[in-house]
């Protein structure tokens, strides 16, 4: 499978993720969007690591990313819960009190 298919997939994922992050109202969905973006990167990493002269750093990296992403997601969800306690909603539009 030629590399550029994979890269294209990655780019697509990335855009989809970004789009989700930008547009979705529900915080959970936004987090999901982030996950998508991260995974776009992962796809790239794994794909490139095939061409790694010395090893498989890419794949290692991908693993790390997944773990960190999990942690991040955990914190994210925790925060969502916290927010829900305060705002009785997870709708990001309604969480908007800090004004500059």
């Amino acid at each position: 499978m030629p590399l550029n298919f994979v890269l294209f997939l990655g780019a697509l994922l990335f855009c989809a993720g970004l789009y989700t992050v930008i547009t979705k109202k529900n915080t959970i969905m936004v987090l999901v969007g982030v996950e998508l973006m991260l995974n776009a990167a992962n796809v790239n990493l794994v794909a490139f690591s095939r061409f790694d002269a010395v090893g498989i750093q890419g794949q290692v990296f991908a693993l790390f990313v997944i773990t960190v992403a999990a942690a991040e997601a955990a914190i994210g969800l925790a925060l969502v819960v916290k927010v829900y306690q305060h705002f009785q909603t997870a709708n990001i539009d309604e969480i908007n009190e800090l004004k500059g």
Binding site: L18, T23, N96
Partner: protein, 711 residues
């Protein structure tokens, strides 16, 4: 090559202190008089008596001694030393006697005239200050120092005119005098700049020496000399030479009340009458002429022509203005301007001796006129009380005073005749000399230069006319005051003043007889005239005017008999006209008494002095004030706003960026939204999604940076 420092040798001798005393004594009087309270007049007059004595002594001892000068350094400017130079020559000696003498008389006169004033001692201090600064002008043979005292004289004149500052008119007159003088002085300073640039000194001796060495080469005025060791080579456009002369003359225009700055002098009559006699008739106003005499030799042809024309015009205009005044002091003021015009004219045509001669004679008779007028005013003023009030300077309330105050009459008459220039009186000699030279000058020059002559001779008629008009109105006919105040009753009739008033007036009256100046009908016959001989011009030949001395004798021969005859004739015509118009019972006299102001264009022009004053006060001054207000508005509204604007702009930008940070993004989001199709729902969903807008915004900006880098 000559070195500036060889000219500017510092030298002094004990004799110098004697000369300096001439200034020191009045200054001393200025400082000490305040301490004497009631006795102040006596003290001041005593000091001035000393000074006069000293002046006379110096005159007698040094009049024929060779010139001597004292020079010292005032301060060092870079490597140029600014010097003080006192020159003892005839001019200085004579002037110092005149100034001190008349000042002394005024001191004495004022004892009576001002005795009821609450600020009497202050008045005498001011007189002291004036005499001091006037002596400064006379003594210093150095343009810078001359200018210094020039301005100080202006200051003391300002103080004395505004002495009764509670009167608004007085304070305004004082300002007018000072500012008009300042305008002239701006010219003076310009002259100083030019001469200093060229000669690196203000010392007249240096200036004259170097002027002699300077020459004109293809239109450039170059001078080449050493200044302690180092070569100085200055070359500027030749026209600056004429400019220098004219600029300095501007100073004289201001001080000697020449056209177009003369309008301050009539207003200056707001001051006490003795002051008018001293400052605005005899001495200060003559300072301009004196200064012209000092710089006479460095004036070039063009400058001299300007001087001559200005002089003639002034003499004529003022004479016209004097024709129709009601206020006796106003008449005298305008006549002063007119006579000063004669002197300046004389200088302009190169009649150096004649001009100065007229200065001297005029000093006496005009002071005399003012003092006698002062007596009349004083005595009439004494008649005023709570139910009788009138303007004691107005000739309409006078008339027939010959009977009531005969001494005053004679004092006044003698001076008046001198003014009118009738033979046997001093004025005749000097004026005759001027006219003589004038006509010689005209014949020699030819061309359009007959205008000054015409004006000058016309002025002779007018002078005689207004003089005799004054005499008839004041001294002949009936005393009009009683008829003017029907209801009230005068407590007494006017009478001659006491000795303090009369002695000075009579003295001056006597001095306006010509026999003191030599038993002759021609200026040449007078010892004084010969004492002051005309110097030769020092300016480069190509620019120099032809001195009268060089004018061949034949020009004069014919004139020697004609001119006196003509001038006497003209004076007589003036007298006859005045007699017909204003002799007691003449219709003009009647009309005059109960008219507010003269009728007819001529009358108006004359009464309002060619409307020059209104030109200043109604057009120029308002314009300047308007301009200043506009500028102030401009400053507050435009410049300040603009610079503040920059500051505000920052704040506004602050708003913008803040707004940008918050809301601009939505727009972008909508944009992305439209691209991604389903507008409606998206926009709704994103409206205030702050975090998301943040993300979008950042991302968009990243993209922008990218774009910026790619192209």
């Amino acid at each position: 090559m000559i070195d500036l420092h060889e000219i500017l040798t510092f030298n002094s001798s004990p004799f110098m202190y004697l000369v300096l005393a001439l200034m020191a004594v009045p200054l001393f009087s200025f400082f000490t008089t305040g301490l004497f309270g009631k006795k102040a007049p006596l003290w001041a007059s005593f000091l001035l008596l000393l000074n006069t004595g000293l002046a006379v002594y110096l005159l007698l001892t040094n009049i024929h001694a060779e010139l001597q000068n004292f020079r010292g350094q005032w301060f060092q400017l870079g490597n140029i030393s600014i010097t003080l130079n006192i020159m003892v020559d005839e001019l200085m000696l004579i002037m110092s006697v005149i100034v001190n003498f008349i000042s002394l008389l005024v001191h004495v006169f004022s004892m009576e005239y001002m005795k009821h004033d609450k600020r009497l001692s202050l008045y005498y201090r001011y007189l002291g200050l004036f005499t001091f600064s006037m002596m400064g002008i006379v003594l210093f043979y150095d343009l810078l120092l001359m200018f210094v005292f020039w301005e100080l004289v202006g200051l003391s004149s300002f103080l004395l005119i505004g002495f009764w500052f509670e009167k608004k008119s007085a304070s305004l007159a004082a300002n007018k005098a000072f500012i008009m003088n300042r305008i002239g002085d701006a010219g003076f300073i310009t002259g100083l700049m030019i001469l200093f640039t060229q000669f690196q000194s203000f010392d007249l001796e240096a200036i004259k020496t170097l002027m002699l060495l300077s020459e004109i080469e293809d239109g450039n005025w170059i001078v080449h000399f050493m200044n302690n060791g180092e070569q100085v080579f200055n070359s500027i456009d030749g026209r600056w030479l004429s400019a220098a002369g004219i600029a300095l003359f501007c100073g004289a225009v201001g001080k000697s009340a020449q056209f177009p700055l003369q309008i301050w002098l009539p207003d200056a009559m707001e001051g006490p009458t003795p002051v008018s006699a001293l400052i605005h008739a005899a001495t200060m106003v003559a300072a301009g002429v004196f200064m012209l005499a000092r710089i006479f030799v460095i004036l070039d042809a063009q400058a001299l022509e300007v001087v001559a024309i200005v002089g003639a015009v002034t003499a004529f205009m003022a004479a016209i203005a004097a024709l129709s005044q009601f206020d006796i002091k106003k008449v005298l003021a305008y006549s002063t301007i007119s006579q000063l015009g004669y002197m300046v004219l004389a200088m302009g045509i190169g009649a150096y001796s004649a001009g100065l001669f007229h200065l001297i004679t005029h000093a006496f008779f005009k002071a005399g006129l003012f003092l006698s007028a002062g007596i009349i005013i004083h005595q009439l003023h004494a008649l005023e009380d709570k139910d009788v009030s009138f303007d004691p300077q107005d000739m309409r309330v006078m008339g027939g005073l010959r009977k009531h105050m005969p001494k005053t009459f004679f004092a006044f008459l003698f001076c008046a005749l001198a003014l009118a220039g009738l033979p046997g009186f001093s004025g005749f000699l000097s004026k005759d000399a001027i006219l003589l030279n004038l006509s010689a000058w005209t014949d020699h020059k030819g061309g359009g230069f007959y205008i000054p002559e015409v004006l000058a001779f016309a002025t002779v008629i007018f002078t005689a006319f207004y003089t005799f008009r004054m005499i008839f109105l004041v001294f002949f006919g009936e005393f009009r005051l009683p008829s003017l105040i029907q209801d009230a009753k005068l407590k007494a009739l006017p009478k001659d003043g006491n000795a303090k008033l009369m002695v000075p007036a009579l003295l001056l009256g006597a001095l306006s007889l010509s026999l003191w100046f030599g038993f002759t009908l021609e200026a040449e016959g007078s010892w004084l005239y010969h004492l002051i001989e005309t110097p030769v011009f020092l300016v480069p030949v190509s620019y120099a005017a032809t001195s009268l001395i060089d004018i061949p004798e034949r020009y004069f021969e014919a004139l020697h008999t004609i001119i006196p005859a003509v001038s006497i004739g003209f004076a007589f015509i003036g007298f006859v006209l005045a007699y017909l118009a204003y002799k007691p019972g003449a219709k003009l006299e009647k009309a005059f008494v109960n008219r507010r102001e003269p009728v007819g264009p001529l009358g108006q022009i004359s009464f309002y002095h060619w409307y020059q004053d209104s030109l200043y006060t109604k057009i120029i001054l308002p314009f300047i004030l308007l301009l200043s207000r506009c500028l102030a508005w401009f400053d507050a509204q435009i410049i300040d706003r603009f610079l503040d604007g920059l500051a505000k702009l920052a704040v506004v930008l602050g708003h913008v960026t803040k707004w940008f940070d918050k809301y601009f993004v939505d727009g972008l989001v909508n944009l992305t939204a439209t691209t991604s199709g389903k507008v409606g729902q998206l926009t709704r969903s994103i409206q205030s999604g702050k975090v998301q807008t943040f993300v979008v915004m950042s991302f968009v900006f990243l993209l922008l940076i990218l774009l910026l880098l790619m192209f």
